[in-house]
């Protein structure tokens, strides 16, 4: 795939709205749901930073809190059941959680956009493509008439829709799944956001189409220099597109590492077991490594570390107290033994900022105590 033409770039720059590169930082985010059965701490103390141009993977099983983390950043948590009860979301020097409803509307879709899982449900079947792709440009850039039409066609070209002047009049059902998801991408890019959140964008696509779409996202990121949060449960996708990965379990980030590091020397026993349990198309093995038990119910989480009941390395303290996040140091040692060097307690808040090769895990194995 080729990069966009130079004259297109200049049109874009003329009409740019939100595209100042900005650092995103989430601090101790807590989003709870108040239900009849009790309080569900869907997101419970999540902290991470996203540098301009970086791609961060957010992986975890269903119910681990990855999607709610993203919805919280956009302040789209379904109310009144769900409430952001604590934390900060800094985009540049603004805390999004302190903005008024109206101010937030200037951020949503403009500085942070989102691509959802299923284009069949995220596109409106009764409006044509032009109307839906143009809505953001109309609202945020004040475009209308032929200016808006040109803008829509430019956006469609960005996402490699052939014959955009014809396709703009199509309705979603006239397009294939892969093309629909590219339309969703065009909508997300329409005001050139600095952060794009992609929530399982390829789950509903076939594998060969998935490969095309991931390639497109990577190309677009290079052309338009946004940073990306990639929510997925698929480690294969993580390996392909992410610079860094945060692994979530039961509402908390349990491990954060550069992608290669995570695969070559996972620290948290959950991440370790999960990576080992993947059936690998490149290998023939007799049996797969399994993780015993089930993911916990968020209604009654066990005391201490929620993974402890399934953990092969669980100790007494694990069932009593949730571990803080420890810096485990980047090791090239892949021996698989328990790594205990360089462990200095870092409070569960934000770890040393910056994109540096930090590898953290919320696990008592790394508290530095002699064992």
């Amino acid at each position: 795939m080729t990069s966009s033409l130079p004259n297109e770039r200049s049109i874009a720059d003329a009409g740019t709205v939100g595209s100042m590169a900005a650092r995103l930082e989430v601090r101790d985010l807590q989003t709870w749901f108040y239900t009849r059965r009790g309080i569900v701490k869907a997101v419970d103390g999540v902290s991470f930073a996203l540098e301009p141009g970086e791609t961060l993977g957010l992986v975890g099983e269903s119910g681990s809190g990855k999607s709610i983390t993203c919805l919280s950043m956009l302040r789209l948590v379904p109310e009144p059941a769900g409430r952001i009860v604590g934390g900060e979301v800094w985009l540049g020097d603004t805390d999004l959680l302190q903005l008024s409803r109206h101010e937030m509307e200037q951020v949503r879709g403009r500085r942070i956009s989102m691509v959802l899982q299923d284009p069949m449900t995220s596109l409106n079947p009764v409006f044509n493509v032009e109307k839906q792709v143009g809505e953001g440009s109309m609202y945020h850039m004040g475009l209308h008439g032929s200016g808006l039409r040109d803008r829509v066609q430019q956006l469609l070209r960005w996402v490699r829709i052939p014959a955009p002047e014809v396709r703009a009049n199509d309705y979603p059902h006239q397009m294939s799944g892969g093309m629909r998801q590219r339309i969703v991408g065009a909508i997300a890019l329409s005001s050139q956001p600095s952060v794009l959140i992609a929530d399982e964008p390829t789950t509903s696509l076939d594998v060969t189409i998935q490969a095309q779409y991931l390639q497109l996202l990577k190309d677009l990121q290079e052309e338009h220099r946004f940073s990306m949060i990639f929510v997925t449960h698929d480690f294969g996708i993580v390996a392909r597109v992410c610079d860094r990965v945060a692994v979530m379990y039961a509402g908390k980030i349990v491990e954060m590492a550069p992608t290669r590091e995570l695969f070559s020397s996972p620290r948290h026993p959950y991440a370790k077991a999960l990576i080992q349990s993947l059936p690998d198309p490149d290998l023939e093995v007799e049996w797969l490594t399994t993780i015993p038990g089930q993911p916990p119910s968020l209604y009654d989480l066990p005391q201490g570390c929620p993974f402890a009941p399934r953990c092969a390395d669980a100790m007494d303290i694990c069932t009593q107290q949730y571990p803080p996040t420890f810096e485990t140091g980047v090791a090239t040692d892949v021996s698989g033994g328990v790594f205990a060097g360089g462990a200095a307690g870092v409070s569960s808040g934000v770890t040393a900022g910056g994109i540096g090769p930090s590898h953290t895990a919320a696990c008592w194995l790394y508290d530095g105590a002699p064992r």
């Binding site: 294939s176 189409i209 695969f263 089930q294 993911p295």
Partner: protein
Amino acid sequence: MMTAVTTEPVLLDVRHVRKYFPVNKGVLLRKPVGWIKAVDDVAFTIAPGQTFGLVGESGCGKSTLAKLILLLEPLTEGDIMFDERSVTGLRGDALKNYRASVGAVFQDPFSSLSPRMRVKEIVGDPLAVTTDTPRSQIEARVSEVLEQVGLNPSTASNYPHEFSGGQRQRIAIARALSASPRLVILDEPVSALDASIRAQIINLLKSLQQELGVSYLLIAHDLGTVRFLSDVVGVMYLGQLVEKSTSREVFTNPLHPYTRALLSAALPVRPDVQREEVVISGEVPSPLDPPSGCRFYARCPAAMAICENVQPLLAEAEDGHEVACHLYPTSSPAGANATP
């Protein structure tokens, strides 16, 4: 586990099966205006105790094929032999016996189990419907299979909603096995499950096969699962088998350009494994009026002149490795000229 491709006894023999769905137009006088060729001349065999893995993208006909074998849809053409007897004309007891011999596990354990039935009813149902097993023995058999799939038989009186996704899939597996089938069709058995549960279920399927000697037809898009469970793998594209060989051959020595693209797109599990990157352009063409030559022609990076008009035949290109592609002379019908 066998790895050789059939000179062995055959349990299921799918013989040049076709399934066309009519496309009708008009409100009162509905006229057929075309056919969707969902399955178009597919042939393969499954030996006793063997797993045949079927891979391909959505719409390629995998699930239609499963429905044909389960007799949920009539064949348009061809035949399916089970234990050397055709299953298409079965009636009465013979049909019941066949239904008892073939079990099925579907993708979503939330929609495939009736919420109004207790586990023992769900699991005992195939026995009650397809066999004359007395009620007292059904309960004993239910306890037995529940234990085999790793569930506590004391939960037999519970309802499906009381179980997690992984446990529900175990119930679905128990149901498929209760009438002691010889073939089980697994249609995406783990893709709806959480990652940390998948390996448990995949291992369970494998150990059950070793214990019971049952054959599997595995339909899955996760190639890791297919490689792990399958002895023989068939790759489907737009209603046709384009490649077929042992699991190891297909994964280490893929011959068809589509198989190569599929393997490349399957994404590395580990970032340190470098893979040949084949990103194919375009999308799967409509099975309504598929292209006349090779169906992969328009997307194929290695397409030649002959591919546009002459349909390649599935033929043995290497020892025990069949492929339908003009890159291999065995696929081109006599007289056709395969020049690049």
